[in-house]
């Protein structure tokens, strides 16, 4: 398999789906000639034209709503929001419109819509360009939420998302765009090649001493921490959730049953985050397997600051994961 970047993997997924299905089209701010704020759609307008790679006015609410309308009319729109923070402007369309359609109107209301958007800090972009707001949407029945951590998953899960008949939020972490990794090749004889189902977590690394649960950008930190822990003979298992809604509780529980010890790492502020939901699922189901209380490592409950010094303190990293993991294992003994 080829090695490409996370950002190239997303572009490949879009390219292949645009070629495969005439009804697929892209909408977003500055996604045409500019290629999107992070360059993900660069060059697509040359192959597919301005009608399928549509630059929109700065109107997140109507862009999301127009994508819903087009989806109801049989299209498969893929919208890019420049930063996840801007999704607040489209909240009504996603929560009150897209998410309710199938449940209320039934089979007649199919809304195959994908919203792609970059999340996360690490670039000193400050309070309104750094947030990871996945918990808002995981809380809304009717929306699916994907947060891939590798180029392989980014490409494969985006292709799945484009083909999915329901609205999907596809979260791309800014700090992963340059990360290299293998991807599945397109195959003209098998257009399902490399397609991954939604709702399956991935064991990023096997181990039996402690489970570290992460998704999106935190997966890489968790893997680095696991490598570090190995030096002290601790075998950490890293579970990459990949899809936050629907959530793969089975894979999660299987890992915790094995290790008896679990640390959840979340980049978003602690309170009300997805980590709390994961923790509850473990406690409710397999409390008796736990050798220590479930722990969460998350950003503190403050807005994302811009200064590099403050941002560094804000986001959990490899060193803090190692620190907490060691602490937990010592307490467990």
């Amino acid at each position: 398999m080829r090695q490409i970047s996370y950002s190239d993997a997303i572009r490949e997924a879009l390219t292949e789906e645009l070629r495969r299905d005439e009804d697929v089209f892209l909408m977003g701010e500055d996604i045409g000639a500019y290629g999107g704020a992070f360059g993900v759609t660069r060059g697509l307008i040359d192959e597919f034209g301005a009608e399928r790679v549509m630059d929109t006015p700065i109107s997140e609410g109507t862009t999301a709503g127009a994508a819903i309308g087009a989806a109801l009319e049989g299209r498969r729109p893929v919208v890019e929001f420049m930063f996840m923070d801007f999704i607040a402007l489209a909240a009504d369309q996603l929560l009150n419109q897209a998410a309710k359609l199938r449940y209320v109107f039934g089979e007649q209301a199919s809304c195959p819509l994908v919203i792609r958007t970059p999340t996360g800090g690490g670039r000193c972009y400050g309070p309104t360009h750094s947030q990871s707001l996945e918990a808002w949407f995981v809380h809304v029945p009717g929306l699916k939420v994907i947060a891939p951590a590798t180029p392989y998953d980014a490409k494969s899960l985006l292709k799945t998302a484009v083909r999915d008949p329901d609205p999907v939020l596809f979260l791309e972490h800014k700090m992963l765009y340059k990360q290299q990794g293998q991807v599945a090749d397109d195959d003209e004889h098998d257009d399902c090649r490399g397609i991954l189902p939604l709702g399956e977590a991935r064991i990023a690394r096997e181990g039996q001493d402690i489970t570290i649960v992460a998704w999106s950008g935190m997966t890489r930190e968790a893997e680095k921490a696991a490598e570090e822990l190995e030096k002290s003979d601790v075998e950490a298992e890293v579970v990459d959730m990949r899809t936050l809604s629907p959530m793969d509780t089975e894979t999660l529980l299987a890992s915790v049953r094995k290790t008896g010890c679990v640390l959840i790492v979340q980049e978003a502020p602690r309170t009300g985050g997805v980590g709390g939901e994961i923790s509850a699922r473990i406690s409710e189901n397999i409390y008796e397997y736990l050798d220590a209380p479930v722990r969460r490592l998350a950003s503190p409950d403050v807005p994302f600051p811009a200064s590099p010094v403050l941002e560094e303190r804000m986001i959990p990293d490899k060193n803090r994961i190692v620190e907490v993991a060691v602490e937990m294992l010592e307490e467990g003994i």
Partner: protein, 319 residues
Amino acid sequence: MDENVEYYRQMLLIRLFEQRVEQLFTEGVIRGTMHPCTGQEAVAVGVMAALSPSDYITSTHRGHGHFLARGGDPRLMMAELFGKKTGYSGGRGGSQLMGDYSLGFLGGNGITGGSIPVATGVGLSLKRRQQDAVAVCFFGDGASNQGTFHESLNMAGLWDLPVLYVCENNAYAMSTPVHQALSIENVADRAGAYGFPGVSVDGNDVSAVRKAVVEARARACRGKGPSLIECKTYRLSGHSRGDQRRYRSAEEEQKAWQQDPIRRFREKLESEGFMDPDGTDQLQHEVQQQLEQAEQFARESSFPDPDDLEKGLYATDQL
């Protein structure tokens, strides 16, 4: 039947449907809330009379009239209001969320202005397909102050989308008179800011509404883009069930009743010889019977199975 008589029948159906439904709410037979469109029947019927079966419609919280005029089945609508399984949304949507996509009727909306972007997107898709079809977007004077109105009309004007924005200016956004919320006199005048035509018509005149929509539709189908049609009308009922209407006087309402679109139209049809008093009585009797049957259907239908509560959220788990 003469088309005018048919328009009259539809307006009467809407009026009597809303009256009966209000009564059923008052009696506690129907739970929740509803927003009657009493007084606005000419807008619903006039717009639908100008459309083709291939067109799409998005409606509002005050949408029963739109749906009935488009051919919605009163039995399934009534069942939805009763919260029954046989209702258009299986009892999940209630008054504001029922639709029939086979009629191009994409449903009402619980969010003021929420459907304006959706209709715009339907128009975007129709333009790509180069079909002889338009998207019609109903909204009120209140919704014209939402941000989505500006975003959507700008986009539709920019891309010449086949969308007809039909503003039902019924003089009140809940209790707020239109002059207290709108910085200009006519919503239609806002169209100029987006580079396409806007017209204000007498929304209590079914023929005037129909004519304006026929013209706007023809223009859109010629690839000339959207139009804004403001239908000036008056909400003779309260905003919703339980509205005591303390914000306006009895005199004002009496004056408005003199402009009742149904009475005006009946007088016109009778004076022009399309109908006689016996004929109108007969029509009224038929409509009443239809509504009685609808109510009976709703009463006799089963409630949804609570065990199905969690089904049908995604395509992979259809109800």
